[in-house]
Symmetry: D2
Subunit: 326 residues, 4 copies
């Protein structure tokens, strides 16, 4: 393997707060080692289309606290084809990029793995997604910010719920995973959490409204968008029909969950794994995602990082939500 | 007129941040004048149902910074009937409440006016609504907090809009009024604002997307919920159909706009008019809303405060939105 | 007078949140009128040193929500000399800047007035200072953000004050003016406010601690940094000595008051006066500050805008603080 | 051992955000198990003085999001004496409290251990301190909120630092530990972090200012209050003397670091360990602190939890700060 001289960095998939902190860490660490760094804009799309720019210290000044990604992100259908990847490879060669740091989720890593397998480009991935659904890291970059955005929104909703004795059904992100719903449910004092992983939660909600305490002045129900019993509107309609006496409202938090200034934890995590990615490339690692497990930097092969995660405390957390909101 | 000894205070209609600061000001000012104060819970509903509680200094400790209303709010169909108001009157007499401070919007003042006309109860109203749609005050309590909540949400949305080169259509509150949409549109750098007061705004949006700059990396369009061309989803569908190449998303901000800690301005406004309301009742005023116009406490008869407001700078602000987002 | 073709814009004096929104409004409005715009960095210092850069639409993209000033600010001793101003004039000519928008406080306007008087450069000023101490505008750009920063900090301090039954003496900005202290005192539920405009406030505090209610669980005293009886530390020592049984703490809020994302009000104000400044220059106005009084754009000659302001409601607000915290 | 029927809960030492979430979890879990719960106000002081109150579901409604502690906290010299503890014991017996959950830091646990050793009262401790300096848990309740408060403050300070090309020396909490300074230093993009654990950091700062890049537009230096080379003012004076050309300012963040709404992480942690504490008492555990290590509830004897912690990643983090701010 020839020595790495120029590291390309890009973000791909849905943007997540902390991606900029990760980009900064990659750029600064590479410069510290006297490597060149090339920013690739718009993910695999820009990799194919030639959106490359050299990055220096100033390129990443004053971005650690910004949401979104200064390198932008995009989906690329073309990259999913062999022809697309060939174009990407030629562009990488043309711009003399000989290693990559890919920031994104499992789709990002699938692409990275193909690029490594087919063209031998060393790639290290960083877990940048608000969903926290990757094996190989306790937390993904953006998750902590997203759950804080959710609870701050629910705190506001609770003000009005309390004032009007209402039940609010709040839909949060999580297409395949209830991790955001569950954790924010605990932190918001929700009654019940409806998540894709369970089919007992809607009956639990209805049972509770039927037989539980009647003197509650407000109630919050948290629904993951991927819940199999329906999103917040469907759940809302079921509740309204069965309990017309309850003043029930629905709120979809939506895209605000993706943006905003990253929290301390997301900035630190992004800085640590961004640093580790460059060190790893220098040390000859490739085809792996850098994450943090139990406080230690950990590398996980892309094919394993692609699988979904089921976190340890979750069963206990469902119980926690129930007991603490009694 | 006999001397006032016991002032009742209540909140009615949609809750608004700063209502607690107003309650606090009413209670503390009344106590300062050695008057009794009675909190009436759940607005006119509780007034009829006997939800009265004496309030002291401690009752309003540490609430100035809280959203919602500790006295809760509710709609009352019963109060709209003469029988309902008669019941309310008996309850007020029973609890020896001989004057009222009513915090809410124009519906609240309509009720207050009837109570004054039919039973001679002196009532002073305070403008508590996020909509800022009342004549008789430059700003209503809660409006400043609501518009700040909106722009903080749009700042987050812009992070993701910028990252993905998207157009976001953001729906904000305002059933009959575009005041929230217009002001937050200026403050968020929106392209176009769609408001109930205008029918030229949808053509303006489409014209702009057709003929305007193509190099914009993100676009925000603000829609008031009462816009006559449809809410955000309808507008979104029109845009998506006409401009399929634009990555268009919709976000309904919803109930988060009602809650949250009041801003400095809302706390000060609420404190000033709450103080003024008690002073006014002591001075024999009644049937009026206390507001602030051009920095001066101003009293406006309830029937005039009920009408909608058209603010002076609005035509200019539509122009501002257009020019500044070019 | 020859027609204006190129407007220079700069910020000077202490930075204030909303300055970027003002710069954006100036740039976009000028471009709308097909004028050129030149950004001058570091205020009068950069005007002399040749720090000029042409600005386009992109230069001010995505800055409306940012604190600080992208054009930076600096103090300039050189500009206070005739030689310095001559250099500034030559630089302006060299860069073909034929009119200016100056964003800052009274020091900024003094400089602007001299430049106009001595070299005939038309200048319009915008009130950019957190102190709100300028005649000619109800509010200055940055003031609303600063007072919200203060009350958010005091809300946090009150959490710990309540938990430990403490008295907190909080020092806020305001060298010559108690406007920040007074308004945030009302909004924070402070006991007493110590401001430069009064010498009765320290005795009032001591009297209250001696004779007032003993059952208060927490107390906040707000001190403007320019208070003549001393800053927060001095006041703290006096209180500690006279009332050793009270657990008294001091907190200096300091520089956090200058930064942060501007509030909605500051962004709108900055946008309105930024727009007005360019319109005014085009219409031939000069030597004036553009502000908003009672909702209307108002122009005030620089020599009048330099004087300090005494706001109408202040005497009432001192009384408000006292009564509402009883 | 007789069966537990009534659990007392109290907070002690410095307040920390999330203490209320912990109280709520203890109360609700105990009620779920049909146990009585008694709130003891003002820590050991109130335990001696008889400040006991029975708690029910409503006692802890709507507090999960509040900073501070509804049970208040206090220092008690009396409890450090055998006589004081005997009085505490009699009061506990009088109020039929037969087990305790103690929320606080190592001082709190020292007291709890004595109470257990001398009078056989089973006590489980919860780590409630912003300092994160306890063995037996990866994070303490309040730490995550405190570090987010710090970085939000530094983000504001950086706005003004950038605008004026200044060096800011920011002092954060941490009498014996640099954990807050180090983590927030990484997250704020600080140049250098000065912490009690190191004596090489002041020379490193001076070396950097002497030999490092001269083109930095702003610099942040983070100082832990317990730094042995002095607090922020001392460091500031050294820098000002050696580098008079650098515009150096000092900011002491102070008490705002203790308050505020707890973050999602602090609420979840507090809920988990609060739940675990009651379960542990029921299962016969005592004399231990409940924490979370690597995602698992872990119990640590009080005498071990009292020692200070040195976290694994810290040496790397000092390096991170240095490299990423180059």
């Amino acid at each position: 393997m020839s020595e790495i001289k120029n590291i390309g960095v890009f973000t791909s998939g849905g943007d997540a707060p902390g991606m900029n902190a990760a980009i900064r860490a990659v750029v600064r660490t590479a410069l510290y080692h006297n490597l060149q760094v090339t920013g690739i804009r718009r993910g695999y799309e820009g990799m194919i289309n030639g959106e490359y720019e050299p990055m220096n210290r100033k390129s990443v000044s004053n971005i650690i606290q910004r949401g979104g990604t200064i390198l932008k992100s995009a989906r690329s259908e073309e990259f999913k084809t062999p022809e697309g990847r060939k174009l990407a490879y030629y562009q990488l060669k043309k711009h003399k990029v000989d290693a990559l740091v890919a920031i994104g989720g499992d789709g990002t890593f699938t692409g990275a793995r193909l690029l490594g397998d087919e063209y031998g480009i060393p790639v290290i991935g960083l877990p940048g997604t608000i969903d926290n659904d990757l094996i190989g890291t306790d937390y993904t970059i953006g998750y902590d910010t997203a759950i804080n955005t959710v609870i701050n929104a629910v705190d506001k909703i609770r003000d009005t719920a309390e004032s009007h004795d209402r039940l609010f059904i709040v839909e949060v992100m999580g297409r395949d995973s209830g991790l955001i719903a569950l954790r924010t449910g605990v932190a918001s004092g929700a009654e019940v959490v409806l998540i894709p992983e369970s089919t007992e939660d809607l009956p639990a909600l209805l049972h509770r409204l039927e037989h539980g305490r009647k003197d509650k002045s407000s109630r919050i129900v948290m629904v993951a968008e991927g819940d199999r019993e329906g999103g917040a509107f469907e759940i809302g309609n079921i509740v309204k029909e069965k309990f017309p006496q309850i003043d029930t409202r629905v709120s979809i938090l939506g895209h605000i969950q993706r943006g905003g200034k990253p929290t301390c934890m997301d900035r630190v995590l992004a800085s640590q794994v961004g640093f580790a990615a460059v060190e790893a490339l220098k040390a000859g690692r490739k085809g792996e995602m850098a994450g943090i497990i139990n406080g230690e930097i950990t590398f996980t092969p892309f094919d394993q990082a692609c699988k979904k995660n089921s976190h340890k405390l979750d069963a206990n957390m469902v119980k926690l939500v129930e007991i603490l909101s009694l």
